[in-house]
């Protein structure tokens, strides 16, 4: 019974709740049991969660059941539990961003997206693991130990949102919230065989999202199906007066687009394959599944052409200047004065000495590297050559997108150049780690939306491969249409969801 519940999609759970076949308490308890069974600790198990709020989730579930009994369910997803990436402020629940510097911090306020899921009645199971301050592509930079890929626990679950993706892939939660600055929703989705969406910049409020790079960050859904992502996206999206960069446009039509796409008809859709996002260094098994998926689009009636986005080759360098610059400033607030860790050196240290000692002890290597690069890139005398130039190249990347979207409705690429790599492999080689996000970064730079859907397993290692679809800004509905079509056709071909092929998780002992 409980196994049956955790395998259901969010849409199925919503239906079952609406039909009175189950209760939110039952569903929530099933997921909490699953967490107990497989999540383990920093040393073993999936370790998707940094904090589990069993009591709070069950209380919210009971309240949801009471509402439903009284005929006052607030939302289709009222009562369907959810996991929240630890970079989003949750009133009353610890929010650490995977960093020692925020250990034990309990925000006195909710992020807007958290407020929206609370208002809709979704019980919050807990907070998911992540690379420290969302810097990384493997979740190994978490100060609280890595998350392990449910497909192979010796491998990375992607990052920075490895916790949210792994939680969903391991059936610890039907839904999760992630954030995507350079691929942190899509790349973990790709390597865990799940679905992840980075909405149009400004489509979902960033208020309460602890900023990594403000001009790149977006909150988005992490789920097992395209429809579930659409449901969650419609719930969290839409204008927020607390976020000045929030776009004041309606967010609807995603669920409808997903349902339409699932019928498998892509007739008339123009698809561009991005020439620059392939080649040397791309894993053959990844390229093979990608090519098959492109063929599938043709079978479904789409017109596929190759398009060139020549400045995408500079996206990585551009990103690794803009992001460190913004984050060096964002992370200045972690100074031991108002909240978080305070390390007091011996003697009679000044505030400055306490700040320095705290930031040394509280930040990990990757955070320090990026703060230093950002500090350098913004320094007088270097600004124009680094940050200023990066912002100009950013313009060129946006222009490449604009030109491409004149000829096609969506662009496609593999989500990530490789499948999940072994834990530890790239930990001390920042550049190799950065390459994981080669295909996902351009969308963040241009603010356009992207989705990753499972495309199958690579032949050489039997691990999941992600297929990325990108659309013009504010045309997020196209992601759902194309994503759902691919998902329906492939699920049909495989005879079931890709996660059915994942090995059975043993409890960590």
């Amino acid at each position: 019974m409980s196994d049956e519940l955790i395998k259901k999609t969010a849409a199925e759970l919503a239906d079952a709740l609406a039909a009175g076949e189950t209760t939110s308490v039952e569903v929530t308890r099933a997921h909490l049991d699953r967490i107990l069974e497989v999540d383990g600790t920093a040393e073993s198990g999936v370790h998707a969660f940094l904090h589990v709020d069993a009591e709070g989730a069950l209380t919210q579930a009971a309240e949801s059941d009471a509402r439903r009994t009284a005929g006052r369910a607030r939302h289709l997803l009222d009562g369907v539990p959810i996991a929240v990436k630890d970079v989003l402020a949750t009133q009353g629940l610890p929010t650490t961003c995977g960093s020692k510097i925020l250990e034990g911090w309990v925000p006195p306020y909710d992020a807007t997206v958290v407020r929206r899921i609370k208002d809709a009645g979704l019980p919050i199971l807990g907070k998911t693991n992540m690379d420290e301050f969302a810097m990384g592509s493997s979740t190994e930079h978490s100060a609280y130990g890595p998350t392990r890929n449910p497909w192979d626990q010796t491998r990375i679950p992607g990052g920075s949102g490895g916790g949210s993706a792994a939680a969903v892939a391991a059936f610890e939660a039907p839904l999760a919230l992630g954030t995507d600055t350079g691929g942190s929703i899509r790349q973990p989705g790709a390597v865990t065989g799940t679905v992840g969406v980075k909405p149009t910049y400004g489509g979902v409020s960033r208020y309460g999202l602890v900023a990594l790079a403000n001009s790149l960050d977006q909150v988005g859904p992490v789920t097992r199906t395209v429809l579930d992502s659409a449901l969650l996206h419609e719930l969290i999206g839409g204008h927020d007066p607390l976020d000045s960069t929030s776009v004041d446009a309606p967010v609807d039509g995603f669920v409808a687009a997903a349902r339409q796409g699932a019928t498998g008809d892509l007739k008339g859709l123009k698809v561009g394959v991005i020439k620059e996002l392939a080649g040397e260094g791309w894993q053959p098994g990844v390229m093979q599944r990608f090519a098959e998926t492109v063929d599938l689009l043709t079978e479904l009636g789409a017109e596929v052409t190759e398009v060139s986005c020549p400045t995408f080759v500079h996206a990585m360098a551009t990103y690794y200047l803009i992001l460190p610059a913004e984050c060096s400033s964002n992370l200045a607030k972690f100074d031991a004065m108002r909240y978080g860790l305070r390390v007091v050196p011996d003697g009679d240290p000044s505030a400055e000495a306490v700040m320095k000692a705290t930031r040394d002890a509280g930040f990990g290597d990757e955070v320090k590297r990026r703060i230093m690069i950002g500090t350098y890139a913004l320094s007088s005398g270097y600004y124009d050559a680094y940050y200023g130039q990066a912002q100009k190249v950013r313009t060129l990347i946006s222009r490449d997108f604009a030109a491409a979207f004149e000829g096609v409705d969506v662009l496609v690429s593999p989500t990530s150049p490789t499948t999940a790599f072994p834990l530890g492999e790239k930990l001390d080689d920042p550049l190799a780690m950065y390459l994981q996000d080669l295909a996902t970064i351009p969308a963040n730079l241009a603010g356009v939306p992207g989705i990753s859907v499972p495309a199958g397993l690579a032949d050489e290692d039997g691990l999941p491969v992600g297929f990325q679809v990108l659309a013009p800004a504010l045309a997020d509905d196209r992601l759902y249409r194309v994503g759902a079509a691919v998902e329906a056709a492939l699920t049909d071909r495989w005879g079931g969801p890709i996660l059915a092929k994942a090995p059975t998780l043993e409890g960590p002992r």
Partner: protein
Amino acid sequence: MSQLTRDEVAHLADLARIDLDDAELDHLAPQLNVILEAVASISGVAGDDVPPTSHPIPLTNVFREDVVVPGLTAEQALSGAPEAEEQRFRVPRILGDEQ
């Protein structure tokens, strides 16, 4: 673009208020140079005529009404404080300018 010297890295750490010891400087300096070398490839990619993009979605004039909204209580504000006294944040002695 030139390589960062160890002294320059130490200066950056100072500006960023991170107390790096010698071992950390030795460890980080070469890594930073590898990264800087990689990002240096963008120089010359965009000409002077290309405008910079600071916001991917261009919006202007997003303003708030000048109306008070409830904030935090002092208790909430101080809830995360490492040290508090007289309803204020207690911080170590401050060097430098009086503000």
